[in-house]
């Protein structure tokens, strides 16, 4: 098991957002989390990467075993070396070029030699189809290109797992395809991924496991076929009915 999370709880004020979520991810898994907006998907990913401190919960990242509430600075730093994050709003460093965005974590965070980091960074940008844009600043890139830089920045760190939080939902519809293609490619290379998305085609074609979350709990999980063709829970059925076209079932 590459990542095992047990019993995450998280509240904001009196509002309990995560009510005891468990999660297991194996090496090479592509796990998609589905769920209505406000169900706690983003909060779950943020707690895994310590951008938000869980109120309770336990995690095993490979050989690191931590309490998500009381993890030390050192443990957090170690875990962030294993976990990369792709944000909904890209969150590129606006004062850095595409290449610098990708190499920043390598050179400063990981102390990789500069020449080597630049090699790795260029390869990562080539992989996401941005070989022409090494020296462009974020303000000179389209949303789709910025998100591909965001993905290259995660890939370059060679993490054990990449967390994606709705990576295409801030994009104009015509730019969604290029980002999904890049994600498909890195999934096919065996990258372990945990992806929150509303792109059902990605869940169906790329994921080997789908988790349906609602109101802070995992309602149901299984293979894409389990979830899309034979959902067991009423809440799952209702959600799918809302997000899938009427005759979707025939495409599976």
């Amino acid at each position: 098991m590459m990542l095992e999370i047990t019993n995450i709880h998280k509240s904001f004020g009196n509002n309990e957002i995560l009510k005891g979520v468990d999660l297991q991810i194996d090496k090479g898994d592509v796990v998609v989390i589905l769920g209505p907006s406000g169900s706690g998907k983003t909060t779950l990913l943020r707690c895994i990467n310590f951008l938000e401190k869980a109120d309770q919960g336990h995690a095993i990242f490979g050989d690191i075993d931590v309490n998500l509430k009381t993890a030390s600075k050192k443990q957090i730093h170690e875990i962030r070396q294993k976990v990369a994050f792709v944000f909904q709003n890209y969150n590129l460093f606006n004062n850095k070029t595409a290449l610098e965005n990708v190499t920043e974590g390598l050179i400063i965070g990981r102390k990789v030699a500069k020449d080597e980091a630049i090699e790795i960074g260029k390869k990562a940008l080539d992989k996401v189809g941005l070989a022409e844009k090494y020296h462009a600043y974020p303000s000179e890139l389209s949303g789709g290109q910025q998100q591909r830089v965001g993905i290259a920045r995660a890939v370059a760190l060679n993490p054990d797992i990449i967390l994606f939080d709705e990576p295409t939902s801030a994009l104009d519809p015509e730019l969604v395809g290029e980002v999904l293609t890049v994600m498909k490619n890195i999934a096919n290379e065996g990258t372990t991924m945990l992806v929150v998305t509303h792109e059902m085609s990605f869940a169906k074609d790329v994921a080997n496991r789908v988790i349906f979350m609602d109101a802070g709990v995992v309602v149901e999980e299984g293979t894409p076929k389990d979830i899309f063709v034979n959902p067991k829970e009423e809440r799952t059925k209702k959600f799918l009915k809302r997000v899938l076209p009427e005759d979707y079932i025939f495409y599976i």
């Binding site: 990467n49 310590f50 951008l51 730093h77 962030r80 070396q81 976990v83 990369a84 994050f85 944000f87 709003n89 969150n91 590129l92 460093f93 606006n94 004062n95 850095k96 070029t97 920043e104 974590g105 400063i108 965070g109 990981r110 600043y137 974020p138 303000s139 000179e140 920045r153 760190l157």
Partner: protein, 237 residues
């Protein structure tokens, strides 16, 4: 006045006024060296709503902004010597408080004053740099200090620079109030020279010119620096 301007005096006094420039600049530089980091840190406490400090910074800013600089000078210049005198007495330090060079009071007044102004400048500049970039920096393994030094501060500076320039120019101009503390700066020197022959118009013209040249030069230097910092074209902030 019927004799017109005394040109010889005008030229001589220009150089007298000019000789006050180093003092004005030293006060400006020392005040900025103190106020820039302090203002930035206090702006952070405002943005992150750090309990007590946030409130303190807020009240501090409203006190300084709600009072004239000349009154701040009077308060520091009259109260600090009293404070010092009692400290000297208590610890048996054999020193006369009236021997203290007024430049020290100027450092205090103008640092405190500029800090308040820069808190507001940095607060609004910081709010233009998205919190997401800080989170992204953490997620690629940067420490808090690294993230601020490499990502947040450079972008904050670009946004804040025009306002820092304004604050600096205002600070230079405000040092002219140093005459109230018998500080040997531009205004006082020229006025003293004018006292002899009542050539006030000439002296004021000289003072006017010296500040104008000094401030224009400083603005120009800021423009150059801004151009250098702005390489990445922060259009999407």
């Amino acid at each position: 006045m019927s004799e017109g301007l005394n040109y010889q005096f005008l030229v001589d006094t220009f150089f007298v006024a000019l000789s006050g420039v180093p003092i004005a600049l030293i006060i400006t530089i020392v005040s900025l060296l103190i106020a820039l980091p302090l203002g930035f840190l206090l702006a952070l406490t405002r943005i992150n709503r750090i309990p007590v400090l946030n409130r303190f910074a807020q009240i501090y800013v409203s006190f300084v902004r709600g009072t004239p600089v000349i009154i701040q000078i009077f308060i520091i210049y009259s109260s600090v010597p009293l404070l010092l005198a009692s400290i000297f007495e208590k610890y048996n330090i054999n020193m006369n408080v009236y021997d203290v060079n007024p430049i020290w009071y100027a450092f205090i007044v103008f640092s405190l004053n500029t800090t308040a102004i820069l808190i507001e400048v940095f607060r609004s500049a910081l709010s233009t740099v998205s919190k997401g970039q800080l989170e992204a920096a953490y997620s690629v393994g940067l420490t808090n200090v690294q993230a601020f030094r490499r990502i947040i501060i450079p972008q904050t500076l670009v946004v804040a620079l025009p306002n820092i320039c304004t604050a600096t120019v205002n600070l230079i101009k405000a040092t002219s109030l140093g005459y109230a503390m018998s500080l040997q700066e531009i205004t006082l020197r020229a006025k003293v020279a004018a006292n002899v022959g009542y050539n006030y118009v000439e002296a004021y013209i000289d003072i006017f010119l010296v500040y104008l040249i000094l401030c224009s030069l400083v603005e120009y230097l800021f423009k150059l620096y801004e151009k250098r910092l702005r390489r990445y074209k922060a259009v999407n902030v």
